[in-house]
Amino acid sequence: MPFASFCGTTHSFISHSHCVSQLLCLSVISSFQMQFMLLFSRQGKLRLQKWYVPLSDKEKKKITRELVQTVLARKPKMCSFLEWRDLKVVYKRYASLYFCCAIEDQDNELITLEIIHRYVELLDKYFGSVCELDIIFNFEKAYFILDEFLLGGEAQETSKKNVLKAIEQADLLQEVRHLMKSMWGR
């Protein structure tokens, strides 16, 4: 994979019209990074989008559209990995939802499958036998759970129990009307 030259500390983008070049630009030296995760239905409706690289709305839409089309065109007998532009895409279908991650060249596809599986397990534990409707009607919770599991595209907690505990506690906090320093003093 060609390395683009780093854009400098002010992070002014090299002005490529093609958004994939920007993806490359950002992946300068680190070749282990999840760039984004998409969840979509079999009809191609987006249910969750988490971007770990900065892109414009227009670019995100374009990537989403293309990738969704590509993944939906895959036949069931095919493997879970595909090369897409300069990235590797790892996807897996759980019931009516496709979970799709874009990782970089040096990343380990098999462990990414485990990451996806862990996220599904967390959703399942939280919602109790999760289905697509849960994700549709509680999309913000799906994001909260994801953000307790991954940060910047990397796993921050490898214990299922700890992630769920943190979510539980944070949910409780929503009940409290105001956060005041004196009440919760450290």
Binding site: L46, L110, G152, Q156
Partner: protein
Amino acid sequence: MPAPIRLRELIRTIRTARTQAEEREMIQKECAAIRSSFREEDNTYRCRNVAKLLYMHMLGYPAHFGQLECLKLIASQKFTDKRIGYLGAMLLLDERQDVHLLMTNCIKNDLNHSTQYVQGLALCTLGCMGSSEMCRDLAGEVEKLLKTSNSYLRKKAALCAVHVIRKVPELMEMFLPATKNLLSEKNHGVLHTSVVLLTEMCERSPDMLAHFRKNEKLVPQLVRILKNLIMSGYSPEHDVSGISDPFLQVRILRLLRILGKSDDDSSEAMNDILAQVATNTETSKNVGNAILYETVLTIMDIKSESGLRVLAINILGRFLLNNDKNIRYVALTSLLKTVQTDHNAVQRHRSTIVDCLKDLDVSIKRRAMELSFALVNGNNIRGMMKELLYFLDSCDPEFKADCASGVFLAAEKYAPSKRWHIDTIMRVLTTAGSYVRDDSVPNLIQLITNSVEMHAYTVQRLYKALLDDISQQPLVQVASWCIGEYGDLLVSGQCEEEEPIQVTEDEVLDVLEGLLVSNLSTPVTRGYSLTAIMKLSTRFSSVNRIKKVVSIYGSSIDVELQQRAVEYNALFKKYDHMRPALLERMPIMEKSASNGPTEIVQTNGETEPSVVEPKHLPPVTQPVNQANDLLDLLGGNDVVPVIQTTMPTKPASAGGELLDLLGDLSLSAIPPMTAYNKNGLKIDFTFERANPNPNIAVITIHASNSTEADMTDFVFQAAVPKTFQLQLLSPSSNVVPALNQGTVTQVIRVLNPQKQQLRMRIKLTYTLKGSPVQDLAEVNNFPPQSWQ
């Protein structure tokens, strides 16, 4: 003002919309309501409204007017507000807009909040989308949190630091002290994120890498942690299918890879643990294989001992037999990376790899194909080629071009015999002829030309192929060219390799003319067939038929075809005496470099291309003049053919260098000489030296005619020994006037790099008083100065 509808109710309502238009209408209505609510600065329902906006944004509708509202939510004291506010910021804001900088202060405050979950929100947001400016401003806060004893925050701070370093690499140094005792943590979350942070630092900075190797003794620490993970008993919290914290194991293995690369000591220190992981990991589930995969990658990248490398390749070999196609896929990918360095080890798995050509998955097939080509060698060429040709027959069109190129290349490198080589090419052309790359046509022509003993066989097979199918252009072009060249062999029925077919001249011309008129033929193909037909005028007896065809195309709409036809017509009419010479058999072409097709496309870019940059011979479409008879007389292959330009068009390649080398002509005192003097025709040579290259002699011939009648259609030809190169320029005229009233001059350039004695054989043809005259002579009396 009624309370804005709840989020879930909105979702329910929108989902009832039956058309896109209906949905849009609902959305527009709700957006209007939300906008007025925002205008009223309603604190109570802001959170609800932004949440709704985020839902509509996911459906694809614009939501930028909610950006500032997100900031207000972040600044709120309610946790619910902050949660939605930060989520909104991550979804709606991006670092290209200055608005995002307004977040910085809020984040800073929240990083110091008394509630860890608020701090967590801030760290998460910063670590996902913080711009370089924000990172600069807040790096100090992150660094502080990296040192906290609260593991919930510490792990998040570590990943946040990773992001900061990615955005602002110069800040890496400031995180160094905080990494000191990260690995002594018991908490797996902290361990995992710490390993990620250390990986990032080592990857980015060779100094850091050296520091962690030498000073911090990172390798032993990592080895110890990994060992504990493997040896420790069942730990329910981190267990995945019987394996303890596979995520952490994989990250450790990855960091070990970076530390061990190009470093003997580090590699040695991790040798045992790698062997242990490789042999003890449970392989029944994906998770175990994920760890094995990472282990293999590490073993191959560091300076591991050979036993370990063989172990790694064997693991990959076992992967190839796994039922799970994902595993087979990663195995092929990894083998592709190692095939250059551990070629023999990978060869042992060749048959399994070849079986993968039949896999249903496109990615697996592609990798198997690339790997197969990498494994072809002189010993297995026959067997491998059988499999690859079978693959070529049945594979998807997207593979055919690359596969065909690969076959040509492998065949060229390892062909066991010329017959086999031609057969293989034929097979590719007939099964995948339309996918073959354009540059293959001249390469194949050159190959066929140089396989002298196979000419009859080749032309026969190509002819038969044409009878079956004229739709594949590269096949048709090569076949036309061959028929034009070797059509005489075709009709004479001389084939040693297989049963000769009986075909008449008319049948051959039918086929070639058929190509000219067919809708399937491209203009290039038509050009090939017209030229072929023309060439047959010296090999066949049905010249009149050919003349007719050629004259028809003199008014073709296709300019290229028209030009050719006109020129060939001229050849018939005005230069008929030159025609035999012009259209004679091609000489053996010099091979410049490996004329293989361009490199096989490697989709993951891992393997080094195994092909040299191809040097193309220009497609030989112009008739080339060469004095075959002269060659024979001077002793077989001893002589280099002469390229004569009869028309003022670009010369063919062989003479090109002479043109380039020629600088100013400068006179030097080389005496002129008479080369030939017979029957009233006298030819004198005068000499010049070309500067700056002293190896080139420039000879001007002066032909004069002392008889009473003009000598018309005068053609001068020359041949020199092999160590020389010669080029003839256009003559001043082809009529030598009678009674010495004028001379015909022509320039010859001779390149004589070995400074050998110049010899020349010349051939003269002209018409005198209606009768053609031809004579041959040898010129040996060159003055020494002309070649010393």
